[in-house]
């Protein structure tokens, strides 16, 4: 009897198959301080890149600026959408919109001032970038940024947009 | 219209949750310090330093607690560490070997900080001075387990100690000398006070920082200690303080003080 119980417990756990990670449902703030939930992120079945950054994080700004140079091409070829999530807290949140405008980025930008999405997605330090497939599942992620890393990101985007 | 109703209602119900006490001006204090004292005295040790700008607040609190519970609360000011180290305009060194050793052991991270009967070791032994009064009150209500008395003559201190109840055997006795009314410099916030009155200053721990083991019984035993005062200490400002503590948890079980006379 005991064996049967252990077996059925193990069986149920194995059936609890671990699938691709879905994007956690967390509330974020828009640049106008409105609330938006991550479940509203959509790109019509095309890839989505989620990049965590902060106004005080230089490699993050470097990453987003370097990608901005090739964003149009990326969009033409794969339809990818980049969503930049700023983890700036109340001190620097007011500087996010001016920064985005100064850098002239065309991304969707949201704010996560108390780190709720950051925590839910297991982000330790920024920059941290995720790639979501057509089902909004996380298929690739990367921490840190060095000049040239955007090429690797693009390879991954191309791979899933076939 | 329904929407606004709901809105208003939900906001109203939220209001029920604010609980707020507002004390009126004539009700600020409630000095009802009378309570059944059974004989347990309390020692407050205050880690302090001449260069520590916030320390006089703690010294004032210690003085106020002593006045609130006359003869029941005894204080020792431990000048130790960075804030007691002479430098710049501060020439006098109030540090002692015992004080430095205690600071090293209990390792306070910021000054001022103190201990009330060294209770709460290891996690809660260091207390902010705003917590001293309530902790002293709590300790004073406890039943004493040790009885102490001090007598002094001809450079010899005699401590008489006995148990008041059965207990453990890990007892240690510490005897120290403190001095009051030392006039010297002290920082107080951004001011330098030239003639600050330093009280309770630890001058020497007579029998070693951690004291001597004592085996107590229900009948009184005498413990004699010879001592000397340094030439720059003023005898009539000095006190002898003795306390018994449980070496397993560092907690002080009884303390007594006697003021030296000419």
């Amino acid at each position: 009897m005991k064996k049967f119980m252990i077996l059925s417990a193990l069986l149920s756990f194995s059936l609890l198959s671990f699938s691709q990670r879905a994007l956690p449902k967390v509330d974020l703030k828009t640049l106008d301080n409105n609330t938006i939930n991550t479940s509203e992120f959509d790109n019509d079945g095309k890839p989505i890149v989620i990049s965590f950054w902060a106004t005080w994080c230089k490699p993050c700004i470097k990453e987003l600026t370097n990608i901005a140079d090739v964003y149009e091409d990326w969009q033409d070829e794969t339809g990818v959408k980049i969503i930049a999530i700023s983890i700036d807290d109340a001190r620097n949140m007011s500087k996010v919109k001016p920064k985005v405008n100064a850098e002239m980025w065309d991304y969707e930008v949201y704010c996560d001032p108390n780190g709720d999405l950051k925590r839910a997605m297991g982000v330790g330090s920024v920059p941290h970038t995720f790639l979501l497939n057509e089902n909004k599942e996380i298929v690739w992620q990367h921490t840190g940024y060095k000049d040239g890393d955007e090429y690797d990101l693009y390879e991954e985007i191309e791979a899933i947009s076939k | 219209m329904k929407k606004t109703y709901f809105l208003f209602l939900s906001l109203l119900t939220l209001g029920f949750f604010i609980s707020c006490d507002k004390i009126e001006k004539d009700n600020f204090t409630d000095p009802d310090a009378s309570f059944p004292w059974l004989g347990k005295k309390v020692l407050i040790e205050d880690f302090t330093g001449v260069k520590c700008p916030n320390c006089p607040d703690a010294s004032n609190e210690l003085k106020a607690i002593e006045e609130l519970y006359p003869d029941k609360v005894i204080g020792i000011a431990l000048h130790a560490g960075f804030f007691a180290k002479p430098g710049g305009v501060f020439e006098t060194d109030f540090r002692t070997e015992g004080g430095e050793e205690l600071a090293e052991f209990f390792s306070p991270e910021s000054f001022p900080i103190g201990m009330v009967n060294r209770q709460g070791y290891p996690d809660n032994v260091l207390l902010n001075y705003t917590d001293w009064a309530s902790n002293v009150n709590e300790q004073l209500l406890q039943i004493p387990t040790i009885e102490l008395s001090i007598s002094e003559s001809d450079n010899r201190i005699t401590i008489e100690a006995r148990r008041l109840s059965d207990g453990n055997n890990n007892l240690k006795l510490v005897v120290c000398i403190t001095e009051d009314k030392i006039i010297d410099k002290q920082y107080y916030y951004s001011d330098l006070i030239e003639d600050y009155e330093h009280n309770h200053v630890l001058r020497k721990i007579v029998n070693g920082t951690w004291g001597t083991n004592v085996d107590l019984s229900t009948s009184s035993k005498p413990f004699p200690f010879d001592y000397t005062l340094e030439s720059d200490w003023v005898r009539s400002n000095c006190n002898v303080i003795a306390f018994v503590y449980d070496s397993s948890n560092k907690e002080i079980l009884q303390v007594e003080k006697v003021h030296l006379t000419e």
């Binding site: 609890l16 879905a22 609330t35 001016p98 100064a102 | -």
Partner: protein, 552 residues
């Protein structure tokens, strides 16, 4: 016994069915490890560390299936790194929670982080690099009864290292988005959001002399109004009597804080004007708690957060007891191909901030004195901090990028770091950074920084001047190498002379996917490291550092 076994066996069936649900569960987590070795080094005042090696580590594990999430965090400090409170020493699980969303009602039991508005009366957050983690433990509910209205409420205690603080905290927050809630305003060009919150702390009064309030409440109201390129944000907070003294002094004065922010932003131009006034707003879940312990609220520092090492040498931290601050910033981007823009465009930012004390101090209501400071007073008030800085960023060619920075800072070390010097520090900092792309995946970056303190009689010259040079080589996607030298020319303080010192440090790192390994060696100067206005003092050290992070 057999019956019991049978019942247990059958009770697995609903679990099996849940497991075969359409939505599958997933497990994720992250890991962070920091270790440092310490050698005694008298030339930089690095003291002996008995353990020789100290470590901070933590790991989060989260399980998610459909509307259910649960998680734990294991933390290990054996022993905690220098600069962190020694009460962290040990191992444990200080964070565990379960969260479920039932038809829009979000329930969290266990630990949670939360922020009301800008955090003026309530913010529970974590900042591992500073040793801040004032996570709450209790129950939290979130619900949106109407479109555009969201409510949050909780009852919890707060973390104090491996224990909980004595206070019981209750809080409610409501946020109303007028454009979403009222159909008439949906198409309006003006966007308005209003919010309000109440927080209350219960702590027993065991003060033998004073009658302290056991329920200390606070409230805050906030608004955000946007129209086109202009945005106005403000929040006002009020705290009822919160005396936290012993038996000698207790201040029954209420506290208040007001923050306002006006900004204009369009592509290529941004203007921000901010002001805040804080009076007696230190709010904790234990009366008299000091330092970073048990903070309930968060008042963001109204100065620019600097990134470069010497620019962040004298960081400002908000004084919750009382301050008046202003900040203004202009960001301008000279367009590509314009005269000043050059081929790729040029970015310029000018920032100015100034914080001073309230007139004759914060509000006081004691047995002997009743005082309320003037609302605004700038002339003749004690200056806490003043920062004027210019930032310049330009891509010169396809391979070369230049950044230049100039700062002029006045820093009141007495107030900000609790010292007793009597004079301010006046420092001027110049920074130049060059990025050079050797090949597509190889970049060299160099930084040159200079910090000069005013050595005249009216100012405090602190540690004198500093020079710093940094060279970093990155090789995408895996490697980076860096070499840093921070040089101090020597100085005298309190009659003692300190020799010139080179703080040399080399580091290299390897990263693959989400795994990062970083190894460093050298001298690290003592410093104050701040984020958002909360600081950590790190003593100087000499040794190896190892950082490993991962996500799975």
């Amino acid at each position: 016994m057999r019956l019991l076994n049978l019942i247990l066996a059958f009770s697995c069936i609903p679990f099996l069915t849940w497991a075969q649900d359409n939505q599958n569960g997933n497990i994720q987590g992250d890991f962070n490890f920091s270790a440092q070795s310490y050698s005694e080094d008298p030339s930089i005042n690095a003291e002996k560390v008995n353990e020789s090696m100290l470590m901070n580590a933590y790991s989060n594990i989260r399980f998610n299936k459909g509307n259910f999430t649960a998680g734990v965090r294991f933390e290990s400090y054996l022993n905690v790194l220098q600069g962190f409170d020694s009460r962290f020493n040990g191992n444990g699980i200080p964070y565990r929670f379960a969260q479920y969303n039932v038809k829009g009602l979000d329930i969290t039991v266990g630990n949670f982080y939360e922020q009301f508005g800008n955090g003026l009366i309530f913010r529970s957050y974590e900042e591992k690099t500073l040793g801040i983690d004032n996570v709450m433990d209790g129950v939290r509910l979130k619900y949106s009864p109407l479109k555009g209205l969201s409510l949050k409420g909780f009852v919890a205690t707060q973390r104090l290292f491996w224990e909980q603080g004595p206070g019981i905290i209750r809080g409610i927050d409501a946020e109303l988005n007028l454009n979403e809630a009222f159909a008439e305003l949906e198409k309006s060009k003006t966007n308005a959001i209003l919010g309000g919150s109440f927080v209350s702390r219960f702590e027993e009064d065991d003060n033998p002399v004073f009658n302290l309030p056991e329920n200390v409440a606070s409230y805050a109201v906030r608004s955000t109004i946007n129209r086109g390129k202009v945005s106005f944000n403000s929040e006002y907070a009020y705290k009822y009597n919160d005396p936290s003294g012993g038996i000698t002094y207790n201040n029954f004065a209420p506290g208040n804080a007001l923050m306002t922010n006006l900004s204009y932003s369009e592509r290529g131009l941004g203007i921000i004007l901010e002001a805040h006034r804080v009076d007696n707003m230190d709010y904790r879940s234990k009366r008299g708690a000091t330092g970073k312990e048990l903070t309930l609220n968060y008042i963001p520092a109204i100065s620019k957060q600097h990134v470069y090492t010497l620019a962040a040498f004298y960081p400002f931290a908000t004084q919750p007891t009382g301050e008046l601050g202003f900040q203004g910033e202009i960001n301008y981007t000279f367009k590509k191909k314009s005269k000043l823009g050059g081929k790729y465009g040029t970015q310029v930012a000018i920032n100015y901030s100034r914080i001073n004390a309230l007139h004759a101090g914060p509000s006081e209501l004691t047995i002997n004195r009743e005082y309320t400071p003037m609302f605004i007073s700038i002339d003749n008030e004690e200056l806490f901090f003043r920062d004027f800085n210019i930032d310049f960023k330009k891509k010169i060619t396809k391979k070369v990028k230049v950044m230049a920075n100039y700062l002029d800072i006045i820093y009141n070390k007495d107030v900000i770091q609790g010292k007793n010097i009597g004079k301010n520090i006046h420092a001027r900092v110049g920074i130049l950074e060059l990025n050079y792309k050797l090949k597509p995946k190889h970049t060299v970056r160099g930084e040159f920084q200079y910090l000069a303190v005013d050595k005249s009689e009216e100012n405090y010259s602190d540690q004198g001047d500093w020079v710093m040079g940094l060279v970093e080589y990155t090789f995408s996607p895996h490697w980076f190498f860096a070499f840093v030298d921070q040089y101090n020319g020597g100085y005298t303080s309190e009659g003692k002379t300190y020799e010139a010192v080179h703080y040399l440090n080399i580091s290299c790192g390897y990263s693959k996917g989400t795994n990062r390994f970083e190894l460093g060696y050298g001298k690290v100067r003592e410093g104050v490291f701040c984020v958002g206005g909360v600081c950590r003092n790190v003593p100087s050290s000499n040794g190896f550092t190892l950082n490993i992070t991962s996500s799975f």
